[in-house]
């Protein structure tokens, strides 16, 4: 079993603990109908996730004890889909694997997850909307943690899909948690449906990949199995009709790669499927932090990195990923500039940062993508939670125009918030600086067509990021207070459950960059192999051959990155502190553009007009009125004038009439068609 990995029965408990607690909650609500005391229920949940984190640390220790090239722990539990039949038997195990990539993900999920669980205790106690809801909330939260851990630990695509759907479902339940607003419920459905479009891509990709592997006699769905036989399918092509682009044939791995990327787009909110994420902010703030910033939305990035061997062999698909990521990063950053809801700014910022990660992954910088994923989890989790603290302090006010000057009031929150803002804006030596720098280097060095443009977009986005984050900072914490005086007197730091996790996250937001310190900085301060994250992850990823970049260039790139972040900050200072009237004047001058941005490029409206409404109209009008009414009467009419009048007069009368004889008529038509086809 050496080539597969080292057995470890520990792994199964990492996801299982949260599941068990979720089951406990479910039984106590649904079956016993006797909810546990909220505080106790919450502590159970936190304990489960913390324990998972401890187990993950132990597993990491075991993993590090192994030689670098065979770092893989497996825990094979049972055969899930077995006993395949026919020549292409499929077998899928319920089996967990911990390699460096999933180890990083597991640690991030369990650690940030436990912080957010603890935070939720304090946050939900403040929520008086639904006093029975706390246990339900923690039930969903634990279920989510379970699904996410299955997603990252699963050793095959089918198990990954189980986690994939599970996190989507829990996200949906949690967004709609405060269901007294029907708007929230609507947002939940939207998230789920957009995610399902992505799942369509995932499933098709899975089936195509499996089919290709069976063609060469190695049906497999486990990552190890796929990777082992992957070389055999790289050259495969599929023929397409001449009218399709790039006819007559497509390289199969590109098609598969794009299918999976469609799945990633849905889950990780990339263009064109990003519409759901900003709306998902309707859920409670800890949910936004956990699911819609730190963990679930990064699942797409994780998947692309997990399938790095596939994307390394599919340059066109990789280029699509890189460009989609870059464009998403830019578009979302521009939208973030105009938003006034504090959580919406952070939401668009998340979309934008996810775009960065895909930019890196598409450029072959898988390590950079995972690095940024990790640092982003810390600082974006922190920012959301801190924003949640602000919102709590402000009595559920989220509009930044009604904040300002909170610096003096929130004496602890301000420091952690500041750490988060510095980290995301990319100032050294905060974590965001290193990970963003890695991404920009990867973009510059890649072979993707137009890679210098990608670099440029990345730089521009970095400037925009600094601008909108400091805009948020200045509007919220600095300047004159615009808070109504009756509220202002009550504004104070929230309780310890809320604040303490923030300090922990802030600490890591500041320092997490050091685990992936790029070699150029390591050289400066004299550390060999300073980029320990990259070395740790190296065996997992397919090695590309990027352009060589001189060290001096890298220093210049770092310099320019800081410079553009500084200029963004300066601009924000200028506009929102020095001359507060300017933004409105700009908005007035550029009203068309501003309104476009404010309305998020009218994307929602476009979707409504192009997809949702036509579907409703189609099923309502076409199926009912045209097919039923039209076909019945249309055939009867037979082109005579009388018939046309009859259609008009009796048109709707016979639509899905409920008349048995009309059904019989359709059966006759069907029978004639079938027999006619057979006799052709």
């Amino acid at each position: 079993m050496v080539d597969v990995g080292t057995e470890s029965d520990l792994l199964r408990w990492i996801p299982l603990l949260p599941l068990l607690v979720a089951a406990y909650h479910g039984i106590s609500i649904g079956v016993l109908r006797r909810p546990t005391v909220p505080r106790v229920a919450a502590i159970f949940s936190c304990a489960a996730v913390l324990l998972s984190f401890v187990l993950a640390c132990i597993a990491l220790r075991d993993l590090l004890a192994l030689p670098p090239d065979s770092r893989m722990l497996v825990d094979d539990i049972y055969t899930w889909i077995g006993a395949g039949i026919g020549s292409r038997a499929l077998s899928a195990e319920v089996s967990f694997q911990l390699d460096p990539l999933s180890a990083v993900m597991t640690l991030v999920v369990t650690f940030v997850g436990s912080m957010i669980h603890i935070y939720s205790i304090g946050y939900m106690e403040d929520d008086h909307r639904d006093d029975k809801g706390t246990q339900r909330f923690f039930c969903y939260l634990n279920l989510f943690t379970f699904s996410m851990l299955v997603l990252v630990l699963g050793d095959n695509l089918v198990l990954m899909f189980l986690g994939w759907e599970g996190v989507g479902l829990c996200s949906y339940l949690l967004i709609g948690f405060w269901y007294s607003d029907s708007w929230n419920a609507y947002c939940g459905s939207k998230a789920f449906i957009v995610n399902r479009i992505g799942d369509f891509g995932f499933l098709i990709g899975l089936f195509l990949l499996f089919n290709a592997l069976s063609e060469i006699g190695h049906p497999a769905v486990s990552f190890a199995g796929i990777q082992a036989h992957f070389d055999g399918i790289v050259e495969m092509t599929i023929a397409v009709p001449a009218w399709m682009p790039f006819a007559p044939e497509w390289q199969l791995v590109n098609v598969i790669g794009l299918c999976f990327f469609l799945g990633a787009c849905g889950k990780s909110a990339q263009i064109p499927l990003y519409v759901w994420l900003p709306d998902a902010m309707a859920g409670p703030t800890p949910v936004s932090a956990l699911i819609h910033a730190a963990t679930m939305v990064t699942a797409g990035v994780y998947m692309v990195c997990r399938l790095s061997f596939l994307y390394a062999a599919a340059p066109e698909a990789s280029a699509v990923i890189a460009w989609t990521g870059a464009i998403t990063a830019l578009v979302a950053a521009t939208i973030a500039i105009t938003q006034n809801d504090i959580k919406k700014v952070l939401a668009y910022s998340t979309v934008s940062q996810l775009g960065y990660m895909f930019l890196a992954a598409g450029c072959g910088g898988y390590t950079a993508a995972i690095f940024h994923l990790g640092t982003h989890a810390f600082f974006k989790g922190l920012l959301f939670l801190a924003a949640g603290a602000v919102i709590l302090a402000m009595h559920h006010e989220q509009d930044m125009r009604k904040m300002g000057g909170l610096w003096r009031r929130l004496r602890m929150t301000r420091w952690v918030f500041f750490a988060g803002v510095y980290a995301i804006a990319g100032f050294p030596p905060f974590s965001g600086f290193f990970s963003k720098d890695e991404i920009l280097v990867a973009a510059w060095a890649s072979h993707v067509p137009g890679h210098t443009w990608l670099y440029g977009i990345g730089m521009l986005t970095a400037g925009l990021t600094a601008f909108y984050m400091f805009r948020l900072w200045y509007l919220t914490f600095c300047g004159e207070s615009r808070v109504p005086s009756d509220v202002l007197s009550h504004v104070k730091d929230p309780n310890g459950f809320v604040v303490n996790p923030l300090w922990v996250l802030a600490f890591f937001s500041v320092t997490a960059g050091l685990v992936g310190l790029p070699q150029i900085w390591g050289d400066l301060i004299g550390i060999e192999e300073s980029n320990s994250l990259a070395n740790f992850l190296k065996p997992v990823f397919a090695a590309g051959e990027p352009h060589h970049i001189a060290h001096s260039t890298e220093y210049w790139m770092a310099f320019w990155a800081v410079a553009i972040a500084l200029s963004g900050t300066a601009l924000a200072w200028l506009l929102y502190i020095k001359k507060p009237g300017v933004p409105d004047r700009i908005a007035a001058t550029l009203s068309g553009l501003y309104r476009t941005l404010l309305n998020k490029y009218y994307i929602d409206e476009l979707y409504d007009a192009v997809i949702v409404r036509p579907l409703v109209v189609f099923s309502d009008r076409v199926l009912y009125r045209i097919v039923d009414a039209g076909v019945i009467d249309g055939i009867g009419a037979n082109g005579t004038a009388y018939g046309i009048r009859a259609v008009a007069a009796n048109g709707l009368k016979y639509a899905q009439s409920g008349l048995a004889q009309n059904y019989i008529f359709f059966m006759i038509v069907g029978a004639v068609a079938i027999v006619g086809y057979l006799l052709r």
Binding site: I632, D633, I635, G636, A637, N638, Y642, G643, A646, N650, F665, I668, V669, A671, V672, V675, G676, L679
Partner: protein, 170 residues
Amino acid sequence: MTAETILFYLFGGLAVISALGMVLNTRNTVASVLSLVVTMVSLGAVYLLLEAYLVAAFQIMVYGGAIVVLFLFVVMLLNLSTDEFPPSKQRLIKSAFVIAGVAILAQILIALGHDPLFATPPEAVPEGYGGYRQVGILLYTDYVLLVEMASLLLLAAIVGALILAKRKID
């Protein structure tokens, strides 16, 4: 043309005419039922010509004697002897049905015309073909399962008819 053939065309024609009479008669339900009897009896005659004697007997006794009488009974019970539903105004739909029906018929006839089955006349029937003895023996040996299952079917029908039609509710 033998006497048998002439009789076949005679009874066949009668069956078609009376069937049409049943379907097209929109005034008098009793007349429709009686047309059906004529069809059934003509078919019984055709069965005789086809040397299926037992089936011919059943055709007359069960169909003509029991089923049609049951129809007649219900028509009388519900006092429906005059058809209250004059021809529908949806002539167009009807014509569509006619077209569809003719299309089916055409398909079947096309299929038949090509069949090698009809190229040669059938051979003479073996001794005792279609008689009560042969059918009876086979029913209770080779096909005994069917007889048993048919009994269950009739049981189900009796129970069902009782449930649906009994007058007392609860």
